[in-house]
Symmetry: D2
Subunit: 347 residues, 4 copies
């Protein structure tokens, strides 16, 4: 079968792989239908993650169960499932709660190590299926279910961990797919105002259309712009969805007294220069978030079913799996206003 393989920086190819086998008695094999490219795949694509040649990419996918191990209880052959992009051992207490980040053994994401090949492929092996795979709920589109594997949960956790309350003012730094979904969720959770910050005009106008106040970072200091719009106080809730040092610094400086900065833009700097004196003078809380994906499903699924959350249009580009190289280049380069790419694994 075919799979997307990373051969080096900016070099992905669709290659033949051996059919995957069950990871264990609690695993399943999924025949992938649709799979998406995530901003965090770009860390690998762009060569920021060290020696990763040969990695089979992809942690956002949906498909049909074609084989199920003997211990799997909740799924069977033929079920249409989506899978958490992050998984744990499946046997410990936290995994029973669907929280891979707390797993006693440790968490891993699909498509980031040789140990757990990714889902941008025709077939993928999924471990701990009872804990981490779920049949697609009635009333959800295929694309919504793909978004439940990572980006919607990440946006949900980012907004939740920013301590957003009804009536809050929320700043969202960065309007890529996760940031845009964070804007939508913050409004859905009762924020009075969402200040949506980016440099791309279409992303700003899209956020405005969702109900946010766009702040154009090319128009000057975003910290000053946020303070101007909040009577000098800053935003009590800040979601950082970029992952650069500069945007994180901005996020910290725009935060109001006793506020919270929730960081979901992945930044693996081991020496980020934290302005502690500012934090002390304002009693700020800083949180990072790797999404414990399944813990968010009980809130997100009913919102999708009720039509209150409509995230589908973060997908701007749809391509066959065979065009993965073009898809990565388009996504990485934001060609044609590309926000997020969905791949059809059958083509």
């Amino acid at each position: 079968v075919r799979a997307v393989v990373l051969n080096g920086p900016h070099d992905v190819a669709v290659e033949r792989i051996d059919d995957p086998t069950l990871t264990g008695d609690d695993g399943i094999i999924v025949a992938v239908d649709r799979t998406a490219i995530c901003g965090s795949d770009l860390h690998y694509y762009e060569g920021h993650m060290g020696h990763t040649a040969g990695i089979r990419l992809g942690h956002e996918f949906l498909g049909e169960v074609v084989e199920a191990g003997p211990e799997v209880r909740s799924l069977r052959r033929g079920d249409r499932v989506f899978v958490s992009g992050v998984v744990g051992c499946g046997r410990c207490g936290p995994c029973a709660h669907g929280d891979p980040v707390r797993c006693d053994v440790g968490w891993q994401a699909f498509g980031t190590t040789p140990a757990l090949p990714g889902g941008q492929a025709e077939l993928v092996a999924v471990p701990a299926a009872d804990a981490y795979a779920r049949t697609v709920p009635e009333g959800l589109t295929t694309e919504q279910a793909v978004l439940l594997t990572d980006v919607l949960p990440t946006a949900h956790i980012g907004v939740t961990r920013a301590d957003v309350r009804p009536g809050s003012t929320v700043a969202v730094v960065g309007l890529g797919p996760v940031g845009t979904l964070a804007v939508e969720l913050a409004l859905l959770f009762g924020a009075a105002r969402v200040l949506a910050i980016d440099v791309v005009p279409e992303r700003l106008s899209n956020a405005a259309r969702l109900g946010a106040e766009p702040i154009d970072a090319t128009a000057g200091d975003v910290v000053a712009q946020v303070r101007d719009r909040t009577a000098g106080k800053g935003a009590p809730c800040v979601v950082e969805a970029v992952g650069s040092d500069a945007t994180l610094r901005d996020a910290l400086l725009m935060c109001a007294v006793e506020g919270t900065v929730s960081v979901i833009g992945v930044n693996l700097n081991m020496q980020f220069p934290l302005p502690l004196a500012v934090l002390f003078s304002r009693n700020i809380t800083v949180r990072t978030a790797t999404a414990s994906v399944p813990t968010t499903w009980p809130a997100l699924i009913p919102l999708l079913q009720a039509g209150r959350l409509r995230p589908d249009d973060v997908f701007t580009h749809r391509l066959p799996l065979s065009a993965a190289a073009e898809a990565y280049a388009t996504f990485a380069g934001r060609v044609d206003g590309c926000m997020k790419v969905l791949l059809d694994a059958s083509a």
Copy 2:
């Protein structure tokens, strides 16, 4: 000046009163512009509250400060203000937090005792003005500010105390003004589904228009209807906004395991027959709420200013103060689909 006086059951009249005087150095006199009739006024109008002849009614009002006591710091002559319908002493710690319900001395509502004449009048004396009166914020309509004196805060506290979370299913029992606003707030706070229960077709269709699922109580057992729509589980969040024994019993029985019933429909029964065995088998929480009005303003005002909360159309009828008798009859009888009446105190 003129004021609405309750002379007996179903007997209100506009009468001449002496000009009110300051209640103390921390008080103000307000020349009323608009004032509303509240469902709780009907408890008095219909004679359920014992001997209340001579009471000057009304706890929802807005107007201009025409006199301010020497200790008042935050307001001055000429300010346009709205006033919490419930007030405390103004000097204790809880009053400093704007929480009259916790006041060390005790709370009282305007228009319910001779000690605190109501605001359905041309002039009204307001005690503890720094704690309980506020200038109308920029961007709010007059009608929105009137709704901030009682019904919006009550709906807010009712929804908040029902433990509504993003993704929750919420049942609202009773779609009068407060129930209707509770529907709107529950959706604004991220409820996935709101089951809106009443017997009046217009109220049901109005709730549906807001985004709720209407449940017609004339069509059969509402508990069964709620359970049918929730896979047998019931609703984890229930807001009771009627105040009768029967509706409260329904609210308790439709509540899901570990759920919360928040009671904002005033019911002063000292022997309500509580089905404890049901509560025990389901670990239910029951809360009553008298609104600590000003504590809700920091959340509600930005939502109104941002246009995310649009409560104005709960007012279905607008009449001059001189027509108060007609207004009460219309409201009590739900004549012409009457939901809520606004009185113009200048006419």
Copy 3:
């Protein structure tokens, strides 16, 4: 083997039963070592629960696994285990969290129906063992592990659901085993003051020894006594641990404004006369609690291991299983200051 059987009101006997068999592939058989009598067993013993002749009693027990079904993962033959007194299906999401009360299928307690024979026996069948049985943690006494099956979790949930915070004043109504443990836990969780209410002098002096302020209910109106000791305000946190209408009414009336009454004394009255007007004037929260036993273990076990929680001396009487009839009579009659009885199932 032998088991305690309820033959009628005040009539229990140790009788021969057939060896129990596995309830299913996820079940275990436990050879009981120690088992306790619970206050809720008395509801059956005293004939308050309808037709219950033939019930095999007991939901607090500890012993050795002598057989394990093929699906059981976490336990094996020879393990020394304690078991949640309340169990669910073991397969649904809430059961994965150890929360039988939310179980999709419904919860049941051992020893209360023919469907789930109790643990006051030499052998007992335990369903859903991975979810509801646990090996005895290092550092715990046998008696502490028995207390983890019901009364400590109930006391924990009762105190937690009373919204106890560091610095709180807590009233505990009823100083039986659960109430006494609630006193100990409230102090351990940082209560500044615990007002401990009962009529039995030894129970009052025991609570005083733990650090509480005893209130003798024989000395006059307990509501007045609580208000006298709280500057008229009442207690913001109240734990009702008796289960009578009179004590529940007292608990409600002694509660402070915005306070919480947590009811753990089982009361199955379907028409308890709730004084709603009092609740409305004070914004009181009322909660009932059936213990979702395993959810409390992560907090309780480390407190026991660290020696910070020392509940062992609620056991005042230790008897062989063969003396069950005497044990029940002693417990029911509070003979010789009996607080709680531990039975040795090997004797």
Copy 4:
């Protein structure tokens, strides 16, 4: 009158000053009885805070009101008061809640700028007295009341913001006065285990006496020691009470997955090297805390009155104000096991 003046690094002197005058109509003049030296005074004493010559030191003090401005309501001449070490404008909403850190105008600490001379003096001017000064509650010792001005509130906020729950394992890094009080409070709030880390043997043995597990930082890597004692997981709640880059780094690295690091050791580094990759892999929350002092009094005062919190013995040295130079040298050098110094302003 006399006051302690900082003339340069390691150079404090008791000097004659003019009698202070009221800061405004809402201020008081306090004749100081007792005043303490705080670890944060050392930042000034040791010359880390830039040009501070001439500063009159001290933000922990207690004394008698000798003059009260005409707007002061809650205090009068002759009252014995303690004062929040940090104050705000006294007029805004947050100040009405006793939260100087959120003050609309900004907060300041006594004894840190010429604008707000300190309380290590015979007389001190206190602004916004209704919000920030309080009569000494019945049942408190003088020394307890002095501790309420800063270090107990800081320890309380540090522990609270570490998300300590009953049953938690808490690591406290640094056992100076604030760290030692954090140990005591963490245990009082129900922590199962407190890992208390320092290099000074007496401080470690003192923490052990309070009920903590001492960890000697001179015996090797403290992160490894904490992980060894927690089955490799680290501590879910960490309180950093030193203020150095090295200890903060340790605090972050010893934190468990989904844990919280609460930083109360003042560290004004604007470029602290934050190990973001570690935070991301574990979903850690980091909080800094400047104490909003009066907000902690409602919890701390009843705990002191009930004798459940016994902090007095953090004072190891008592000296007259006239010996301030010796007192600072003793405190800075930890001479004779000095933990904290109390000065008698009458001598």
